[in-house]
Subunit: 206 residues, 4 copies
């Protein structure tokens, strides 16, 4: 029930500031290239070259290619959830929380296209971490939704079902407009999406 991810803190083998710097360079390089070409089309050599270090150096900080990938997913999970939390903290109505949440999420995707693509690819690289990502994300989401249902602001629907519906919507809209077009989600799309989420597709009295 609780986030099973206690163990899932990014491991950091750097022991000196210089080491930390190198680790960061590797992490960034990995993020870029994984995002561009995908996990399987990225080689460790490439990562080290982009980071400007020797091949062996990679294994000083990460035990394997899968390991960096995992750490990137974990980092993203923490970052994105923190950003959304901060953005909606203090906002009372769920309705506004949702709107702000979407904006925050899409902004994040826009600014971290690569990281986002990495998460989506996790399904084919490390299914365990992929599910962990979605489950923790969904759990956080569900809490807010359950709360709002109790408050009578939202319909009484299965929270998990609703959470996955909403995640699906943001993923596909983000993919279609941000990843494919490379720009931010157009305002009218955002509006229509929001209207749909709030009121559904049926025309009242239709």
């Amino acid at each position: 029930m609780s986030t099973s991810g206690n163990k899932l803190e990014p491991v950091n083998k750097a022991k000196t500031p210089k080491g930390e710097l190198t680790r960061q360079k590797l992490l960034e390089a990995a993020e870029e290239i994984f995002g561009d070409k995908g996990f399987y089309n990225t080689s460790v050599v490439e990562i080290t070259q982009r980071a400007g270090v020797a091949q062996g150096t990679f294994y000083v900080y990460f035990s394997s290619k899968h390991e960096v990938f995992r750490q990137l997913v974990i980092m993203l999970n923490h970052t994105i959830r923190r950003e959304i939390q901060q953005a909606i903290s203090g906002v009372k109505s769920r309705r506004e929380q949702e709107i702000i949440g979407y904006q925050t999420f899409f902004n994040f995707v826009l600014n971290h296209k690569n990281l986002y693509k990495i998460v989506l690819e996790a399904q084919w690289v490390d299914d365990e971490i992929y599910r962990w990502y979605f489950k923790t994300f969904a759990e956080g989401y569900m809490q807010g939704l359950t709360e709002a249902m109790k408050q009578g602001e939202l319909r009484n629907l299965d929270p998990e079902c609703l959470a996955y519906c909403l995640m699906g919507i943001t993923i596909e809209i983000g993919k279609r407009w941000i990843l494919w077009e490379g720009k931010e989600v157009p305002q009218n799309i955002l509006n229509d999406m929001t209207e749909f989420v709030f009121h559904g597709m049926l025309k009242p009295g239709g």
Copy 2:
């Protein structure tokens, strides 16, 4: 306007019934293993072994490992669209069409878990075919939605936006319950999902 995928017919190099049989065996083997282990963790040897033919035989029918993959995606695109079309043909109200569409879709996914996973992985294997798949699928969807909007049955929302929202929902629900749990989508989830799709999440007067 029309589906741009006219050129995307699966290539068939078999010239005799015997050849066609072999081709089918390879196609089936590939579907199974790609679905189980993913494109990148599947080797051509494995496919040929499962199909019971020699390695070289693979290249008699497919020009590369990517090629089979592509053909599987194309096949799926044709099949799934045809099945949904058939299922909703004759059904008048869009509302019922949607419900039947979901059932058909989820049934399909349940019965072709592997094929469905292949499509989703296409994003990392052959982005071109992946986009083609979604665009053609979305186009078909949009036609039905636009029609229903004209009839006054649905709200006037951007059809593409709506199509991607709906695809996102089915993908994530299908993933969460069918792929992860291995069973069909529970009835209550289906109900809540449908209610959400039709009426949105906000409680009227909430």
Copy 3:
């Protein structure tokens, strides 16, 4: 001393006119592709495709890929020697024979670029046939040269040495101007080459 090539007649397995036709198509296709891409970059499939027959048909007429190659070299040897013989027959002076011989040779190369390239490649494909080609060619050449030496028209030089010198010259000139430029050898080059062959490079009294 005598041509060792008695055994080297092109083998012909065709037994009917239709078969002979097929054999010819294969031979022509092989000549074209070997010439264009070299023996090792040419596949039997390619030959059969260009010839418009099935893969298996190839082995009805030739026992192996090497075999066609060999037959082409043998054919060329016969053809080119015959053409030169005919061209110089009746011509008395060795001097004119040489000039006519060059023209004939270069014309042949120009019209059979591919065949010529095949002979040169033989060195790396089937050294035996390559040496046979040069030895028989040299022998024929030497006869004419020896004769002319006896007549007092040519210097008394080792005939084999002279033959190889002259072959070297025509090969390199042919390569440089016909194969590389794709045109016939320019007249001034032909003149200077002839002058060199007849009188050497030293300026008399230089």
Copy 4:
């Protein structure tokens, strides 16, 4: 005017003495085997086995089988031209330069049969490098010849034509006696060849 081959320096990926040693071993192994069996009948495995390293090591130093080949040709071009330059430096008359040049060249071929065969095979492996080899070699040759023409020592013939004639002669003589017989060019052959080169084949007053 200047040799166009400035860019054609052998690439060296070794970064330490140890690496350089390995690279050399590979280069030598490749030279031997390419020379013996030809490019297309040589496998990378064979090269690494002869060099006493693992297969993968090959690709640490060379990007492909073609690449080593290319480097060997480039090396040969540099070496042979340097040797001839050194041998004839200080020799005044073109006549003597030619004689010394032949000796040097034939000696080189005798001592580097393999390397020489590699160059000749280049025509079928990498035509670009093959032409580069001949063009740079011819250019150097032409300079000397042009000079001697100006000095009135040689006839006024097209220098390029003359260069290719002379190259053709040395190639065929070298092939016939050194490569085929495996020994050095017999003295009488060398004499007759030289006489022919200097004075041509026509008997004066013949």
